[in-house]
Subunit: 125 residues, 2 copies
DNA sequence: CTGAAAGCTGACACCGACGTCAGAGGCAAG
DNA sequence: CTTGCCTCTGACGTCGGTGTCAGCTTTCAG
């Protein structure tokens, strides 16, 4: 086994990526269309992904859950890939962070209100 | 001033409700359409709301922000109005509560990841 | 009286992350 | 060869809270 062969990543098809990451095949294609993923192609045209794509997809899901759009994620991807950021990216990062924090506070407030009601409705059957 | 007159609420039109609650007129009409609000009508057909409608609308906004749909809110409204709940409503309340709590946890995790990146990109300009 | 501002109904547009269907090709097993 | 599963492209559908436009009536201030 040569160094080159050892370094060669085992490539996986879209179905395996989707299953491993817990999303649909459609979703993975969508991410590629939005510029979040790149894939090699087999001679017949099938997408071939690196294994760590699964981690990336899980990360996307987390960011989606936090309310980031695919556009924003695409704009911030270089921060992860290269670890380098310009002023605009740093400001976007902070903006998203603040937005999420505000959302957490809103949700917590809503949670408190629901808990009040639950407490009342439990003592007043 | 009779007791009846004192008890008669001052009714406000949709524009004032919207402004006071910080939403659009369109939104208020939508809430009514979804069964979240009821309004009297003036002889000419204009909607007339009670003053506490403003509080109610703000509450709707908070629930929307927490991810409840107008349908769910409508189903749970009696819990607020009457303070009485049946088993189904109590289970819905708990389900929503748990869903929001999970969402808070997700957001917090996303927040932590963003903060990591921010920390890195600040020390590595 | 008159014009601006506000209200009414009804209906179509929008966003964003997918679901879903159609029609066609690829690939290993029996 | 066939069967069955996977993959491809392309395109339209979905949901939910609102924006928005059209066309008409009501209200209010000057």
């Amino acid at each position: 086994m040569t160094v080159t062969e050892a370094a060669a990543e085992r490539l996986v098809r879209i179905g395996e990526v989707a299953r491993s990451a817990g999303v649909s095949v459609r979703a993975v294609r969508y991410y590629e269309q939005q510029g979040l993923l790149t894939a090699e192609r087999s001679p017949s045209g099938q997408r071939l992904y690196r294994q760590d794509t699964v981690t990336l997809v899980r990360f996307f899901q987390q960011m989606f859950a936090a309310g980031l759009t695919s556009r924003r994620i695409a704009e911030l991807l270089p921060c992860w890939d290269t670890g380098h950021t310009d002023a605009e990216q740093r400001s976007m990062l902070r903006a998203e962070r603040d937005r999420i924090q505000a959302k957490v506070d809103d949700l917590q407030a809503a949670l408190d209100r629901l808990d009040e009601v639950i407490a009342v409705t439990d003592t007043h059957p």
